[in-house]
Symmetry: D2
Subunit: 154 residues, 4 copies
């Protein structure tokens, strides 16, 4: 059985149309590659990515701040309520093979920092300017970087 690859898309629960659109396209591409979309399960960038993934038949996982999962957006297949509040960010990172940050505020910063603590790769579109983040401009470039990192040819 082939291990499924988990890609986390992280970013603010409140985002501009521009970043909603980018995250949405990214979610579509992730699903098209057969990767599982992992996210924090809420609105904004998380919702956009999950919506995109579902439109392309992907699987979406939301690791949620709440105890009961009622904070999940409509596009989450697998709800993992944690009751941890923002501390759930750590488990989003731990569940991901690679993390993609789109825009984002302090929550996203904590995810980037935590990813580097755990020696994971972070790809960023217009996110915090932290040493180590692989900066790209488009969802397509994100996918190319993920493939390179995972050693996938095509």
């Amino acid at each position: 059985m082939r291990k499924k690859i988990n890609i986390a898309v992280v970013g603010g629960y409140d985002c501009s149309k521009k970043y909603y659109k980018i995250a949405h396209a990214l979610g579509q591409l992730i699903a098209q590659e057969g990767w599982v979309l992992v996210c924090g399960g809420r609105s904004g960038v998380m919702e956009a990515a999950a919506k995109g993934a579902k439109e392309k038949g992907g699987l979406t996982v939301g690791i949620l701040p709440s105890f009961d999962g009622k904070d999940a957006n409509l596009y989450i297949d697998v709800k993992i309520p944690t009751g941890l509040g923002y501390a759930r960010n750590i488990f989003v990172v731990r569940a991901a093979d690679i993390i993609v940050a789109v825009d984002g505020k302090y929550g996203t910063l904590s995810e980037i920092a935590f990813a580097f603590n755990e020696e994971k790769t972070v790809i960023g579109i217009d996110t915090w300017d932290i040493p180590g983040v692989i900066k790209v401009k488009t969802p397509k470039e994100v996918v190319a970087k993920i493939k390179k990192k995972l050693g996938i040819r095509k």
Copy 2:
């Protein structure tokens, strides 16, 4: 979009053939109902349930003790590594709408106790004799109890 129902199957990572067989049949039934199988992702009862679910085309989630997910059994679709050791039991419980305990030792006991802390339903087959556990004998009875609890008719 209809909310997916998550059923956790909990029990020892080391179990007899008898309980492996029971958990396997239970996993099959869970998948046939269209429910997501949530478990601790390891061997024994967890593996048996996940194997059964996969045979029937179900979706399986493993909330793992390790940081890296290498402890997952072969039948886990979505790996959620936590790095928490046994403390991940809490998140198995939080991720579940209903918990089913099959046999089990102290890890299972912690899951039963924690489920009652969080006011969740626990159905048990030959597990700890703790007040509140709904005792049944077969996987079929488990499904009937789950349906009753969730208010599902047929």
Copy 3:
């Protein structure tokens, strides 16, 4: 520098006068031995033990369910708010060299189970009848059992 010994007293946040009195006496003895009292920081058995410990000049630590520590009883020196709800029980156990359970409901059961997961000693006064719990009747006997376990002579 000599390592401080941490003793956790666990039990319900709601307890009868009988168990309040027992936990209070236990807290006093723990402080008199120079041990740190660790608890869940709330009312009932936790408060009684912390009150006793403070009366004898001991140090008290409360590992709290809340984010902000406002749920602490008046006798907690060091507040460790976790924001975890009942899941903080795990960290009470992890912070303790030895766990003492007095009476208690499902929260206490989760602590006993979790202690055995982590191969720690549990001493119990009128608590859950779980294999492995060292049953005693009085706070003095608790102290004698702790000393024996830790290899302390007098």
Copy 4:
């Protein structure tokens, strides 16, 4: 009973002599104010601050990555092992009224980010240049800023 104030000092487990000295002086001042020193319990900045606090009769709390507390430095009074690895950073932040960052790498960055998630104050000496960090140059200035924030006159 007056609530004890918890001040977290965060920074790398590996630091230069310069920052060891600064953290040491800071620990001394924190103890002299009667505040509890909370830290990650390990070497570097954490050890320096704890050592300083102990020299002035303060109380020190270490919230540790390990399961067993063996990773604690020699100056920790109250060990809180978590078994969480770097994820314990969250609980350092939650246990603190105010966070002081000295130098530091990604672990420290995660603590700063997480502090802002939880709307806590961060005072920094030569640390990450993140919007919101109150930048100062000396331990004395740190104490002045803490007092101002807490509304303590002298």
